[in-house]
């Protein structure tokens, strides 16, 4: 039959079967699927590393089951994989890639070949990460601080190269998004009719394009230092290691927002959809994403408060850092206000949405205390910081990622997963996460330093709580994964066109799963993304 159907009118999963057609496709949906699978793979890998060293930390130092070097290697791999291969590309490349054209009413991203290139660069990066594994023990930490990272450790060199390629993958994705958002919107899709997820991706793309190249040059200079010791960063040659930290954080602070801003977008989608309610203060939420982006370029120095950075610089950076609190607060308040008098449906994605709200509240509040200069001196480089950024990167971004996967899974696969198991998993994840990371907050403010293989006996209790928690967390995520995969079997129910009753284009108009060119014909947008008032029940 298919032979007679015009190719654009069959869904993208059925069209052109065969692995080769997947690898050479320029269809954003297939590319994002491949991104999703790769990202999930590395998420599991990074998670395994995390569980291994949490097990080690059950008891201090040599009482554990791995050596100090192995421990350092594990937390480095956990950091590098999770940052460069999971959270940074996760939501934009895997979910945004799929959803963005659908939400805009476009046939595809503006530059499909660039999109495929981005995927291949990502894979090259991933392969290089494995080469580093073979080459030895990368143990520099994901921050690659000089001079430790320029001690000619081959594994670290491979890891630097991997990060280099992943950076370009990220740049190309961002570039593609901005072009698409500017040039590919369907008729009637005005800027303020764009879903907030698009606004978040737009803000993210700005940072990807303007910050990531500086990472590239930083890694390049680090590689050169490794081989020639030209003395820009290398203190043995009169270089300044703190200058390297400036270069690194000029990228890596915006990178933190590259990580978290898309999660804000997903949170807005989930909360609006499952409350059947217009998002409260749409423009404030939209512009707070842009605002956080611009402020994000001004505050990198707060990672260097104890690095011997000049006191004046510290003061300026602390001052500016406080301003990031404002857009974050605006978002949290607006989401909360959106729930007010809504019609709240606690489906699986919404459970994750509420978790994002909860975790980001803690992540944001712990962030503010770290920008109080005098207090930060005490908390710097302790588990408090570790816990803070896990509340943001894991508790906000990865929870949003998982929630987003549950939200768009029916659209991607055309299948419905089991709701009961989905909710159970969500609840398990919530408690697992809190147990794991709240213990670390207390341990940190008590002064327990991060990246420690051996620790004082008084901290053991917190480490044990944290280690117990991580297994609940892992169990929850594993349950969610199995539940999703189980939905792919034949007997599982097919997804309806619009299971959540959402008002955005990808649910209202696009078929499930979408056609090769997404829509039968280009949709004409007549209402905003969350106009539930005009909806006939």
């Amino acid at each position: 039959m298919i032979a007679h159907v015009h190719p654009e009118n069959i869904n993208y999963l059925k069209a052109k079967p065969g692995l080769i057609n997947w690898f050479v496709t320029v269809d954003h949906k297939r590319i994002s699927m491949m991104f999703l699978i790769s990202t999930l793979f590395f998420f599991i890998l990074g998670g395994v590393y995390a569980m291994l060293f949490r097990l080690q930390l059950w008891s201090p130092g040599s009482h554990g089951f791995i050596s100090a070097d192995t421990y350092n290697h594990f937390f480095t791999m956990h950091g590098v994989i999770m940052v460069f291969l999971v959270v940074v590309p996760g939501i934009p490349s895997a979910l945004g890639n799929f959803v963005l054209p659908l939400q805009l009413g476009a046939k595809d991203l503006a530059l499909p070949k660039i999109n495929l290139t981005s995927l291949y660069l990502y894979w090259i990066g991933g392969i290089l990460a494995f080469v580093s594994l073979i080459a030895g023990h990368a143990d520099s930490g994901w921050t690659f601080y000089a001079p430790y990272s320029i001690s000619k450790n081959p594994a670290v060199l491979w890891m630097l190269t991997a990060a280099f390629f992943l950076g370009f993958s990220s740049i190309l994705t961002g570039l593609n998004f901005i072009v698409t958002i500017h040039k590919m919107r369907a008729p009637g899709m005005t800027w303020f009719r764009m879903p907030l997820f698009i606004w978040a991706l737009y803000a993210t793309a700005i940072m990807q394009i303007f910050a990531t190249p500086v990472l590239a040059i930083t890694l390049l200079l680090l590689l050169i230092e490794n081989f020639f010791h030209i003395g820009i960063f290398d203190p043995a040659m009169g270089g300044d290691p703190v200058l390297m930290q400036h270069f690194f954080w000029f990228y890596s602070h915006p990178a933190v927002y590259i990580i978290v801003v898309p999660a804000f977008g997903i949170c807005s989608e989930l909360i609006a959809t499952f409350s059947k309610k217009e998002i409260f203060g749409y423009k404030f939420v939209a512009f707070s994403s842009i605002g956080i982006t611009l402020i994000g370029f001004l505050v990198w120095g707060h990672h260097m408060f104890v690095s011997g950075q000049s006191e004046i610089a510290n003061t300026i950076f602390s001052f500016l850092t406080f301003f990031t609190a404002i857009p974050s607060a605006i978002k949290v308040f607006n989401w909360t206000a959106t729930l007010y008098r809504g019609s709240i449906d606690l489906r699986t994605p919404m459970l994750y949405g509420l978790q994002i709200l909860f975790n980001f509240t803690i992540g944001g509040l712990t962030g503010i205390i770290l920008s109080i200069l005098s207090v930060d001196i005490h908390l710097h480089d302790t588990y408090f910081v570790v816990s803070h950024f896990h509340y943001v990167a894991m508790g906000t971004t990865m929870i949003a990622f998982v929630g987003g996967v549950h939200y768009w899974w029916p659209k991607m696969t055309g299948k419905m997963y089991n709701e009961v198991w989905g909710r159970t998993a969500a609840i398990l994840v919530f408690f697992g996460f809190q147990i794991t990371f709240f213990a670390q907050l207390i341990m940190g403010s008590q002064g327990s330093p991060r990246r420690y293989y051996h620790y004082l006996p008084e901290f053991q209790i917190y480490h044990r709580i944290s280690t117990v928690g991580v297994f609940f967390l892992a169990a929850g995520l594993f349950m969610a994964l199995i539940n999703l995969l189980a939905s792919l079997r034949k007997s599982a129910p097919d997804a309806p066109q619009n299971p959540w009753g959402a008002r955005t284009l990808e649910w209202e108009v696009a078929p499930t799963p979408p056609l090769v060119f997404n829509f039968e014909e280009t949709p004409i947008v007549t209402h905003g993304p969350y106009e539930y008032a005009t909806e006939k029940a």
Partner: protein, 139 residues
């Protein structure tokens, strides 16, 4: 025919651009050859002034190149100009804030060395130690 976005095909304009670029380049080199030490002006750092002027000329050339050789002047949308400006805004922030660190180290407690002291015995000994046994490699 009217101007398309992109490069102008008005030969006069392009020739003018080309000549002015060459002129500015020559000016740049010329300035760098002016011997500043021979003058006896002390109330003003002529060396710094010279550097600033040279880079100012460079900036002018950059604007001309972006405007005509990249066709920024003939863009249909202002967006591209904004992107271009944003580049330099961020780079300016980068160097400015980094300089507030490098330049003002020890400003609060001047009794300590603020610049990198690469001739301190520390680095010498450090170099020697590295020569003797390589810094602990990961087994």
């Amino acid at each position: 025919m009217e101007q398309l976005p992109g490069h102008t095909y008005n030969f006069k304009t392009l020739a003018g651009v080309y000549v002015s670029l060459l002129f500015l380049a020559a000016l740049m080199v010329g300035f760098s050859l002016v011997p500043m030490n021979s003058t006896n002006i002390t109330w003003l750092d002529l060396h710094l002034l010279k550097t600033l002027i040279i880079f100012a000329i460079g900036a002018c050339m950059a604007l001309i190149i972006a405007g005509f050789l990249m066709g920024l002047k003939y863009e249909s949308s202002k967006l591209n100009a904004i992107i271009f400006a944003t580049n330099f805004a961020f780079l300016f922030i980068f160097i400015l804030f980094t300089w507030t660190d490098l330049g003002l180290r020890g400003a609060m407690d001047p009794s300590f060395m603020k610049q990198i002291n690469w001739e301190s015995p520390v680095t010498k000994e450090n170099a020697r130690e590295q020569a003797q046994e390589a810094p602990a490699p990961a087994p």
